[in-house]
């Protein structure tokens, strides 16, 4: 136990450095949310005048989605890096070190959390620059980051499970397509009451809807909105389930 935290720390530092190596790899995860936010905020701004739409600018309505998209696009990197370690043989070197092997997975999750914060901060600066108002203030921004960190770690587990089970880089990279149904079959672009019935049904069962709504409540409403608690609860459940599955896959890979 005395070396558990130092092993976790040093492996995390190694993984965190991978975030900007190469630095260009960071661009898509920044460009995509900024692009979608700017395009949607201007081209769909009239949507805010539709009866039944909350009384807020469309720009503010989709602001949480911008932060979210950045995390969606980058959380899969953990699995890609892991499968690279596996296929080039470095993973074998790691597992014959005198360390607690759990720290290999924990350090990947730490990397994901750090990347979520870094990318979230960049998008946050943009949102503040274009005048998005955060109803819950500074504490609300901290809560948004807390929620998104939990979600990012949970989401990254999908790619890590894929890496550990298939050990195939192309399959892990293809997990990227999951972003689209999970992000767009939610209330990310329109409130639940304005979605067509089929979409509404899917969005109701899509756990990401609750994370989006929780984040949105922190931006638009206030602390009393129950969506905040539901968001944290959903992210927490996803975290526990997916991290458990990742650890099970990791144990299986070690055997």
């Amino acid at each position: 136990m005395d070396t558990f935290f130092s092993d976790w720390y040093y492996l995390s530092i190694r993984n965190i450095k991978q975030i900007w190596r190469p630095a260009l790899a960071l661009l898509p995860a920044i460009f995509m949310p900024v692009f979608f936010f700017l395009v949607n905020a201007s081209s769909l701004s009239a949507f805010a005048k539709v009866p039944g739409f909350p009384n807020v600018p469309y720009r503010d309505f989709i602001a949480p989605v911008a932060i979210f998209t950045a995390i969606f696009f980058s959380a899969g990197n953990a699995g890609i890096e892991l499968v690279q370690d596996i296929t080039n043989g470095y993973f074998k070197k790691l597992i014959i070190l005198p360390i607690n092997r759990l720290t290999i997975v924990l350090s990947k999750l730490t990397e994901v959390a750090v990347q979520a914060v870094l990318q979230g901060l960049i998008i946050l600066v943009l949102l503040l620059a274009v005048g998005v108002h955060f109803a819950t203030g500074f504490l609300g921004i901290l809560a948004i980051f807390g929620l998104l960190i939990i979600f990012a770690m949970a989401w990254s587990c999908l790619s890590m499970i894929s890496a550990l089970r298939t050990q195939n880089a192309r399959l892990v990279q293809s997990m990227f397509v999951l972003v689209f149904p999970f992000l767009y079959l939610t209330t990310s672009q329109a409130p639940l009451n304005l979605l067509p019935p089929t979409f509404r049904l899917i969005a109701t069962y899509n756990p990401v809807t609750y994370i989006v709504e929780g984040t949105r409540a922190l931006v638009l409403s206030g602390w009393s909105n129950p969506a905040i608690g539901e968001g944290f609860l959903t992210a927490g459940i996803m975290f526990v389930v997916l991290v458990s599955l990742t650890l099970a896959s990791f144990q299986k890979a070690l055997k």
């Binding site: 190694r14 074998k92 014959i96």
Partner: protein
């Protein structure tokens, strides 16, 4: 009962993969402290599987493995502190520099900071990579990667060094350089367990040799003993007489996940 002069004791080691593929069939041998031990055999003989079992990268089906008197599976981390392993596939972190990797591994072996620093300088000098230590390992040539991999496996000054084909793909100069380092390490007391396809390498370096074929050890001894026993003039002749040719029976890891399995369904 552990034999004190032996640092590696393997008894009745068996590895059977699913489908009743017998990769290793009841292998028994000992490696003495400070010995330079060669482990030879044709492709698919079970050498790499055996070596991987010695570090628990492959789980044994049955048998016993003692490393420095410790039962491997019950004392993994204690064993890992005592061994270094330069594998056949040189797995490096391509997003890190050589210095960063050595530093990371030093920390993960829980060495004091000043020792990590001195070890890094010593090892980089040893493998002649001081000038490129701050370059990403992805920029290294094959020979540089091999040399660096050797340095990485030595960061914690292990008692036992496992080497799986350490000079594969190297030019004669680089090979001589590695041989020189290995001799020096062995003279300093390090036990070295080497698998190689190069007979001249085994002949030049190893005090004792075991030849494996079809999952079993077929002969063991010094080069002179083997030549006398098998009435051969060279080690290569001993190798050919004891193993014949097994092309087409190369080792397949049937446990490896098959990413195309679903696509074929």
């Amino acid at each position: 009962m552990s034999n004190e002069s032996a640092i590696i004791e393997v008894t009745d080691l068996v590895k059977t993969y699913p489908g009743d593929v017998k990769a290793v069939q009841g292998v028994t041998f000992q490696v003495k402290r400070g010995e330079f031990f060669g482990f030879l055999g044709p492709n698919g003989a079970g050498k790499t599987t055996t070596m991987n079992m010695l570090v628990n990268l492959v789980r044994k089906t049955s048998g016993s493995i003692l490393i420095d008197g410790l039962e491997l599976e019950k004392n993994l981390n204690e064993v890992y502190k005592r061994i270094g392993f330069a594998m056949q596939e040189i797995g490096l972190d391509e997003t890190a520099t050589a210095r960063e990797m050595l530093e990371l591994h030093g920390h993960l072996y829980h060495l004091p900071k000043d020792r990590i620093k001195s070890q890094i300088e010593r090892l980089l000098k040893l493998v002649e990579l001081e000038k490129v230590a701050d370059r990403f390992t992805s920029t290294y040539s094959g020979g540089m990667r091999r040399r660096f991999d050797l340095a990485l496996s030595l960061i914690h000054e292990p008692k036992i060094l496992f080497l799986d084909e350490p000079t594969q793909g190297l030019d004669p100069h680089a090979r001589q350089l590695i041989w020189g380092h290995l001799r020096e390490l062995n003279e300093q007391g390090m036990t070295i367990f080497l698998t190689t396809h190069f007979m001249e390498e085994a002949e030049a370096l190893c005090e004792r040799i075991a030849i494996m074929d079809r999952g079993q050890i077929v002969t063991t001894g010094t080069v002179a003993e083997l030549q006398e026993r098998h009435e051969a003039r060279t080690l290569e002749e001993v190798f050919l007489k004891t193993t014949g040719s097994n092309l087409g029976e190369e080792e397949v890891n049937l446990n490896a996940p098959d990413p195309y399995a679903r696509a074929r369904m």
